[in-house]
């Protein structure tokens, strides 16, 4: 090896060096990346494949291990025909759409306030990080106390305006709202901070020009701020949609999927079929179909991902 076999710095510079690209650096690159790729492949990609295989078979659990038999598409047929699965799909899709829409609107509002706030901005940001870092299960227990029909603060408050206190977790619609409130509390700060980052990159002179042209605050927001935030909002929406689609913790603790199975998301259904009914194949079919929906959504968003990578020119 010569002395310049390991020249750091820009690859472009290395490329134009006489003698072409030195071989050793790319070998080092693979040595550095291999452990990460190996761990990710073994523990995430391999199980995803495993899961697909499992969804096409009957899994027998025994004390010594497990075995696959009966290759068929029965699991999928059973899942697709199951009204419980359809209910879970409808709930998950509806919940994803509603929660992301609400969090996006509130997140933009909070970000607009944060942007204009001069004093105490740091304090408010710090406060907003606490729900983000909160253990979801703990906030779910807290909300289940607040929404408790016998002595919950929210039930008591609502009861002041109605003849008898409502059973918030007792009807599908109000249980849905309860999950929504808990999720909005935890997640809106996250959206707001992302949106704020987009807001502060907008050049002030654009606003000044708009003001000179006689644009009021309302039309400035719709015609200038919002279009300039497009990329930021797309990223926020993308990550929130993917997260919301996998929702598990909150319904598990707050509603147990109830009343009935009206607030049971796909992830909870899959988990229950696998670990409570011990029907691994069918559970895997639920999980695999959920993953497939997510994967298709990802493919649709791949352009957005690519744009992300492209921003800083992959070298």
């Amino acid at each position: 090896m010569t002395a310049h076999a390991w020249p750091p710095g820009r690859t472009r510079a290395a490329r134009t060096r006489p003698g072409g690209r030195p071989p050793r650096r790319s070998r080092v690159a693979w040595w550095y990346t291999a452990p990460t790729l190996l761990v990710v492949a073994l523990v995430t990609i391999f199980p995803i494949g495993f899961s697909v295989v499992m969804s096409f078979s009957r899994v027998e659990l025994s004390s010594s291990g497990f075995s696959f038999t009966d290759w068929s598409t029965d699991n999928y047929a059973a899942v697709l025909q199951s009204p419980v699965w359809r209910e879970a799909l409808v709930f998950t899709v509806l919940y994803t759409l509603v929660s992301v829409a609400v969090e996006l609107v509130l997140g933009v509002l909070v970000a607009l306030v944060l942007e204009r706030l001069t004093a105490a901005r740091g304090w408010l940001m710090a406060l907003l990080l606490i729900p983000w870092a909160m253990i979801t299960v703990i906030s779910a227990q807290l909300w289940s106390y607040i929404f408790n029909s016998a002595y919950g603060a929210a039930s008591w408050l609502l009861g002041l305006f109605t003849d008898e206190p409502p059973v918030i977790l007792g009807t599908p619609a109000s249980a849905f709202s309860a999950i929504l409130v808990a999720d909005v509390w935890k997640t809106t700060p996250f959206v707001a901070i992302i949106v704020l980052a987009g807001l502060v990159t907008i050049d002030r002179s654009v606003y000044e020009a708009a003001e000179m042209d006689g644009s009021g605050p309302w039309s400035t927001f719709w015609r200038i701020t919002l279009p300039l935030l497009r990329t930021t909002l797309a990223i926020a929406v993308l990550f929130r949609v993917l997260q919301a689609f996998g929702i598990f913790d909150l319904p598990f603790v707050l509603t147990s999927g109830g009343p009935g199975t009206s607030t049971q998301p796909l992830a909870l259904l899959g988990w229950r079929v696998m670990f409570q009914n011990l029907n691994m194949g069918a559970g895997a079919a639920v999980a695999a179909s959920t993953a497939l929906i997510v994967f298709l959504a990802c493919l649709l968003c791949l352009r957005a991902f690519r744009a992300q990578v492209g921003e800083e020119e992959v070298r």
Partner: protein, 275 residues
């Protein structure tokens, strides 16, 4: 510039936001201090009449909360260390070294980082059952490392792209090998990136529920989220005890996030984000 007024819509908005965010946190704190009778009193009391620390004693003396916290801290700390060690080198390679297939690797990692956990939980469960890793620390640490690596790699790569290359060059002139260059030259400069990746990984692993619930259901190996979720008897949920334990359990992450809040905000705003 706008003049600052005492009462502006912005201040009112900020006040409302702060109130809405803080109120549930306040309720958690104050409920952990209420004696059992007051927890069920109507109308709810904003302040406990007879504040008590009995729930804290219960959570740590009668129940296993100390163990849950210890488990969570251990698993989260080791996972974070593993993620940082691996992502430092792969992030460096992906940011700085010439390599084929960077784009597919980066896009693939980004997609994995948002994949729903439930889709891999059964195969991992069966594998861990087969090799006897259920109800063990490594049974959580290894999947945690794998699932939080992709995001950390992205953070490290994005951060390292911004560091100027001069220092590395002079280290090479001095004859330092690649690994020594990374450890001695890159690490000190990449510290903010490491903080960001570290805080995100720690928070995510400390709060993770689905895998912990599935793999480590035995009481001695439960983490805080599992302990909190499965807490209580069939008919009566002991809210006071749960809240007291929860107050203690969220303290480490809250302190961590507040201390490193710049790192958290920079991570959230770096674009590639996982909540």
């Amino acid at each position: 510039m706008r003049r600052r007024r005492v009462f502006s819509p912005v201040h009112l908005g900020a006040f409302v936001i702060a109130l809405l965010v803080a109120l549930p946190l306040y309720w958690l704190a104050v409920s952990s201090l209420k004696p059992g009778a007051e927890l069920g009193s109507l109308p709810p009391r904003l302040w406990p009449q007879n504040p008590t620390t009995e729930h804290y004693t219960e959570a740590f003396a009668d129940y296993n909360f100390a163990r849950y916290m210890l488990n969570s801290l251990l698993v989260a700390t080791v996972s974070t260390a593993g993620v940082l060690a691996l992502s430092l080198f792969s992030g460096y390679a992906l940011a700085r070294l010439p390599m084929r297939g960077k784009r597919p690797i980066l896009v693939g990692l980004l997609m994995i980082s948002v994949f729903p956990t439930v889709s891999v939980i059964t195969p991992l469960y069966l594998i861990e059952r087969e090799i006897g890793w259920l109800n063990s620390y490594q049974g959580l640490i290894v999947p945690y490392i794998a699932f939080h690596l992709p995001f950390a790699v992205w953070i490290m790569r994005n951060y390292l792209l911004r560091i100027p290359a001069e220092m590395e060059e002079s280290a090479t002139v001095d004859g330092a090998g690649p690994t020594r260059t990374v450890l001695q030259i890159i690490v000190p400069q990449a510290l903010p990136g490491l903080f960001t990746a570290g805080v995100f990984t720690f928070t995510a692993t400390y709060t993770e529920f689905l895998m912990a619930l599935t793999f480590n259901s035995e009481d001695a190996f439960r983490t805080v989220p599992v302990g909190v979720a499965l807490f209580g008897a069939e008919f009566e949920v002991p809210y006071g005890t749960i809240f007291a334990g929860s107050m203690a359990a969220i303290l480490p992450v809250v302190i961590l996030v507040l201390v490193f809040r710049r790192a958290v905000v920079s991570g959230l705003t770096s674009g590639a984000v996982k909540g």
